[in-house]
Symmetry: C2
């Protein structure tokens, strides 16, 4: 905290946390009487019974529901528009996002398009978006079944425009969830590699938010606790997915990292990853971040030395006297989570893709580059990509 | 954090923090067009120009205002009722609480009584109160000029019923301030002894909230940071009131301790103090807490040993291996702030008052005794009072 920090804190989401707390959906005051439940195109929400449970709990709470089940891992504008049309046809008065970040982020975007005319990209204030003002949105209830995005505790929604290959985060005070229920029991069945990808997404929300030049005393508090918890418990959750204590700690860390996104910001690491997964939608967001993280954080090693040492200290619980202690701890954590050897080429990325990704990262999420500890040149950005390539 | 913590987080207050940020009153979206400004009966709000400044900034924001200037250090139900009548007569649509906890707490109670019939005590769910439900309240804007109560970040309002000698805290989600502007520059003129009393009030919000049996992972985070900051900076602010860095750290710690009150709770130390200042309204709340604190925390020394050691560690930044390290650090901090030798008798309190205070504490704020680390007997409560008597 500087001598004269100026900051604000306003997070109007009601966060309910705890194992088994999904049951609260039957008793909490809900923001309407008919919900559009948004889930992914995958099978897990049905297979594990989460969808049926949510429908049933809503019914106990005298709330009808309709399901939209087409959301992709990197969710698209097309599906946002399609679901918003369904929402209007069915006269739903709120949206339930159930699943990973893709479903909850989509729920927020659908909530916007259920109340505003035109195309979703008309409202995006970056890239080829038109930046029209959003004056209202339906309320959203977020029920995460993964621990990573933090979207349950922030206003952001990341949607890909398939036509223009833009993957852009957008949100406003209107898109904070009205209610978020985080029940770690819904996360017990996530396989180890996804647990690691998602957990590192949360880790980078916290670490980027901690080195961002817009960090604040409150975001620092959330960030360091998220970093501490993830370093300690993510390897445990990866090794033993049934360990409910580790799952709960990782889930809480992910929500804390969402609070960081609400009070500080991601930095350009996220812009760089979005560019990769905009071109290669099969690349999981967390995997993309992990792949570039060592080179990314190495770049700023001498720009915020005290903050690197502070992160190292909460991770290792040892006094740190050099910023590279943080990089060492990060690499150690990646090795323990068995994600240190990720190859971008396994997802089809080619060395020659990187120049256009530099441009895409600047064009679509350029604002985050202004929040880095210092401005990066295009050459440095290219370097980070190239050093990360395997 | 236990293996299975269940907790929630919902703080709908927009908190704006920073030196000079009072100016934001001219630009923030306000919850109405005509404000009742509630200030104390003292002279400081006028002497330091804060009242004029607030009236002028509201005017810049196209908002009229009316002033109620009778609030006492231990605010009374009578003034709440009188101000609520003025508010209705003047058709004010929100309340600005400007000053210490007494003015902001009163603003919340006035906000309730401006929208609900009958007497304020009809709504108090403890003591001789009737516990009727409160269904609405006017919005409140909180502008603290002291650092201690945390009322800017919690829903609580402590009002004294002069007739029944009851001093009771009450609030609900309706009484969270809509907007709180915390500007440490407004705190530069607080004299050393009041700086210490108020700062220790914040300290005990955090320390009680940390040992309360309803503490949560989020309240722990806020509490430990408040405790760390106050131990380090309160003695600095007491010694040199013009030190703006120390003032800012203490102000932020006080707001964090308010967040603790919103996510955990005070314990019976507060009930015991309220009983004293209900009978002796000249006793400053913080002074009463300081006077009983050593005996109070000594009583639970072996009941939450790890938590005492954790508090000692964030205070001293040294490894702790015995819970009494916390008591030692607390006493040291009181000595540094020149408040270790407070005499309750200086405010007229007599040894023979204590039995009726035990009863009063149970009758009016009995609920907080259920949140102590373990249940106290009446004999133990009496002992704490008696040991604290000088």
């Amino acid at each position: 905290m500087n001598t004269n920090p100026v900051f604000s804190l306003y997070i109007p989401t009601r966060i309910v946390f705890g194992c088994g707390e999904i049951k609260r959906l039957a008793t909490e005051k809900l923001p309407g009487k008919k919900a559009l439940i948004v889930i992914s195109s995958g099978t897990s929400m049905k297979k594990y019974g989460y969808l049926d449970k949510v429908i049933e709990l809503l019914k106990e709470n005298e709330t009808e529901s309709v399901v939209f089940n087409k959301i992709l891992p990197n969710p698209t504008k097309k599906h946002v528009m399609e679901a918003a049309a369904l929402c209007k046809d069915e006269k739903c008065d709120f949206i339930v996002g159930l699943g990973g970040g893709s479903s909850i982020d989509s729920a927020k975007a659908i909530a916007v398009m259920a109340c505003n005319p035109g195309d979703y990209w008309d409202y995006i204030p970056a890239g080829t978006g038109k930046g029209r003002p959003v004056s209202k949105a339906l309320p959203v209830v977020a029920i995460p079944t993964t621990a990573g995005t933090g979207t349950e505790a922030d206003p952001w929604s990341v949607i890909t425009n398939e036509d223009t290959k833009e993957k852009i985060g957008f949100g406003s005070e209107l898109t904070y969830p009205a209610l978020s229920i985080i029940d770690p029991e819904l996360m017990l069945s996530i396989p180890p590699h996804l647990t690691a990808y998602q957990g590192f997404d949360a880790f980078f929300h916290a670490a980027e938010g901690f080195i961002a030049n817009c960090s604040t005393p409150i975001s620092d508090l959330y960030a360091l606790e998220a970093i501490r918890l993830l370093y300690k418990y993510l390897p445990v959750a990866v090794a033993d997915g049934r360990n409910i204590k580790a799952r709960a700690k990782v889930a809480w860390a992910s929500t804390l990292a969402g609070l960081v996104e609400s009070t500080s910001s991601c930095t350009s690491e996220h812009s760089m990853e979005h560019a990769m997964s905009a071109y290669y939608p099969q690349l999981p967001h967390g995997a993309g971040l992990i792949a570039i993280s060592e080179a990314y954080f190495e770049t700023f090693r001498n720009d915020c030395m005290k903050r690197y040492m502070k992160m190292a200290e909460v991770m290792t619980q040892l006094k740190s006297n050099r910023p590279s202690d943080f990089i060492d701890a990060l690499v150690r954590m990646q090795k323990e989570c068995k994600v240190h050897e990720l190859k971008l080429s396994d997802w089809g990325i080619k060395m020659e893709d990187f120049p256009k990704m530099v441009q895409n990262a600047r064009d679509t999420m350029g604002a985050l580059f202004t929040l880095d500890p210092r401005p990066l040149t295009d050459e440095e950005v290219l370097n980070i990509y190239q050093k990360s390539f395997k």
